[in-house]
Amino acid sequence: MEDIIKQLKKLQKIEADKRFTERSRVVIIGTQKRRSVWDVILKNVELGTSFALAGILIITIFGGFSAWRFLLPLKLSNLDTTGLKAEAQAVDIQIQLTNLNYDEITGAAESTAPSMESKNAPGKIWAENSSNRQPEETPSTRATSSASNGTLSIDEALEKLAE
């Protein structure tokens, strides 16, 4: 093993011709570096970007952020905030829960109806639709109708007790 390594070490004596070495060195060092068009463009873009960023930084520091007023793309100087508020208040959107009846005997029967005060309110449309609709017979309504026929409701029972 060591003999082999010793033999391999003999190859370290190999040297290049001195004339070749000198000539090659001069040629390589004297060679102009090739630069593609993309390299040049990339370098210029890098330089331009760094200058632009440095400029923005300087403006930000010395301008004390007041420059943002001019740099903002959308100017809102024509915006009338009081007018907007008044407009918002004029819109009458009132929805009230009314006529909530709770029937303990039959279970639960509830109805909600929006206020009819506003002519433009969507409740009006809802009310019209609901008045046109035929009352559907549900188990609960059936129960209430039967209750009114045979048994007393709490209100009626209370009225009778009061008498």
């Binding site: 070490k9 003999k10 004596k13 190999i14 040297e15 290049a16 011709d17 090659s24 390589i28 060092i29």
Partner: protein
């Protein structure tokens, strides 16, 4: 490693040709030896060495110091050039047919004839190895590169280099042993 190599490389990357000249002076003999053992002819080894350093100078801007030695970067370029050389070159003479006594003797080897023949015999034995065995033998035993640097140059793990080294030594031992019998 060259004294102040990191600084010299930085200067060379910035385009300082004199800095690259220092790198050339230090690494050229190693790359030349590598090329000469890989290809049999002196002129072709010179040509390859020249191309390797030209390529290195042209693309040194892309070199990044990521903890890899500069030599491993150069050896990679050299290996690629050797591969290209064998891909494009029409080999007219079989390596097996090369007679060590007829092989060209280096100008610088002016010692006695037996010594030259011994060097040629070892060179020829290396050339008969697989390319990856050749690389490991040259880098580890001719250029005395540490395992880590060899692994980086050959893009392999340190374990793989140890294994390749073991196999390559066994192979070359067999070859040189057989030659001795003649």
């Amino acid at each position: 490693m060259l004294d102040g190599e990191v600084h010299i490389i930085k200067r060379a990357v910035r385009g300082d040709s004199s800095a690259f000249g220092l790198l050339y002076d230090h690494y050229q003999p190693k790359i030349y030896r590598f090329a000469l053992v890989k290809v049999s002819h002196r002129e072709e080894a010179e040509d390859l060495t020249h191309q390797v350093f030209l390529k290195a100078w042209q693309s040194i801007e892309s070199y990044q110091d990521l903890g890899f030695p500069f030599s491993s970067w150069l050896y990679r370029i050299a290996r690629n050039h050797v591969v290209d050389y064998y891909r494009t070159k029409k080999v007219t003479e079989s390596i097996d047919d090369t007679d060590p006594e007829k092989a060209p003797v280096e100008h610088s080897l002016n010692s006695d004839l037996l010594e030259k023949l011994e060097v040629e015999r070892v060179k020829n034995a290396i050339r008969k190895l697989k390319p990856e065995y050749q690389d490991v033998i040259i880098m580890r035993f001719v250029e005395d590169l540490p395992i880590r640097e060899t692994a980086l140059a050959l893009d392999k793990s340190e374990g793989a280099i140890k294994l390749l080294q073991h196999r390559a030594i066994k192979e070359i031992q067999k070859m040189l042993g057989e030659n001795v019998k003649y």
